[in-house]
Each structure stands twice: as structure tokens, then as C-alpha cells.
Symmetry: C2
Amino acid sequence: MASIPESHRDLLDAPVGSLATIGADGRPQASIVWFLAEGDTVRFSLNTSRQKTKNLLANPAANFLILDGANAGRYLELRGDVTTEPDPDYVFADKVGAKYGGVDLRNMDQPGQSRVVVTLNLVRVNAIDMSAR
Amino acid sequence: MASIPESHRDLLDAPVGSLATIGADGRPQASIVWFLAEGDTVRFSLNTSRQKTKNLLANPAANFLILDGANAGRYLELRGDVTTEPDPDYVFADKVGAKYGGVDLRNMDQPGQSRVVVTLNLVRVNAIDMSAR
């Protein structure tokens, strides 16, 4: 498994990143998402009714890009495939909510909707710093 | 063709965005790039030696996401297919360089490399503002 270099580990503390998936039409789709990083493992709590979740269940190929908000030439690109597990009791969702100041992700969901834990298994990591060149 | 709503047109003045393409392995790839917007047309000046350019020449499916640097819940997602034209004399590259304070993009390229004008033809536009919900 690819690993995230020390030079860019601070970006794992960024509030959001851009998650790209592949849609049914074969085109990339992207959206800004919350995430939780532990070591080299980046996870997302996604509502199964969302298009990005449907895309990942059909095709696990994913890309997560975290931009340095203070330096537009510095970013971390994580490529891989995801694995998806149910989170019926919001155990993982609550961990994500805790990172974001104690948000209850149940309040973002409609009755009857559910969440999954999406884990990005890294195949390739690109740690870019144009300003260091 | 899809169009960019007035509510998010200010993001077309952002310095960078995330360009996602599909690699030979079928996974999305993404990188932070400069861009030039005119009306609903977003264009990029890409060096043909770069992986993203090779990806787009093989598969024109693309996604461009521009995040509001001051509001992580607000962004513009542009989906479409690109068309690619040669830019042997750096005519378009110089327009891009002018946007970025007069940068000469020739200085970013190695001898023998060339550039193309990549135009994103919009199929779908998602203008997101979580803070407005």
C-alpha cells in the first residue's frame, strides 16, 4: 500500500477535500467532503442515497485531493479503491462529527436513509509542492 | 450546453481548481491547475507530456471543481468532455500567463515539449452552497 509522506501529512488535518468517483456515464464526478484520517487511512461517512456513494458501490475507483488552503501550489492526491461497510448505528459517523466540532450527522440525513463507512485503500500517492521546485 | 449560474460565477475568478481525468487503469486522477474562464467556457493550457493531458487525449471525460477558498461548503463542479487543440506558438498559453501576473509558460516546459488548449464542454454543472441550506 502506498503511504503519505511526512512532508504533506499536515494536509490530513485540513477540513475538507475533493472526492472524485466515476459516474454511470463514465465521467468523473467530484464533490467536497468531510473526512477522517488515521495514519495512512482516510475514511468518509457517506449517505447511501447520494450519487457519489452509488458510484462507489458500482465502481470502487476513487481519488481524494486535499489542497493546502494557504498555498495553491501544494496538495496531496490520493488514488485508490474504496471498501464500504454499513454504519447503521452511526458509530463512525459520530467519530466524523466529533472532528467537526460535535456535529450530529443524523441531522443531515432524512428518515430511512443510512450511512456507510468508506475507506480509501491507497494505490498511489502524489504529494505535490510547486512552490518547492 | 449546461451553463454556470450567476450565484457561483465569482468562483471563475479563483486562482486554481481541481481537474479530474480518468487514467489508463480506469481510476480518476486529479491535479490542481490554472485555468481561464470566458463566459461559460473554461479552458486550460496543458503540456502534452503530462499524464492528465495523455488521459484526456485517450478519454475526453473530465471534471473541474472550484472551491470557494473562504467557504469550504461552497463550490462549483463542472462535468463534461474536453476538446483539445494544439497551441504551438503559445498564443493561448500567453493568455493564461497574463491572468497569472505575466507568467511565461514556456519557462515551465522542457525543450521539445508542446502545449495544447483544452476546452471543457459542459454537460452538467453543480453549483453547491451548503451554507445556504
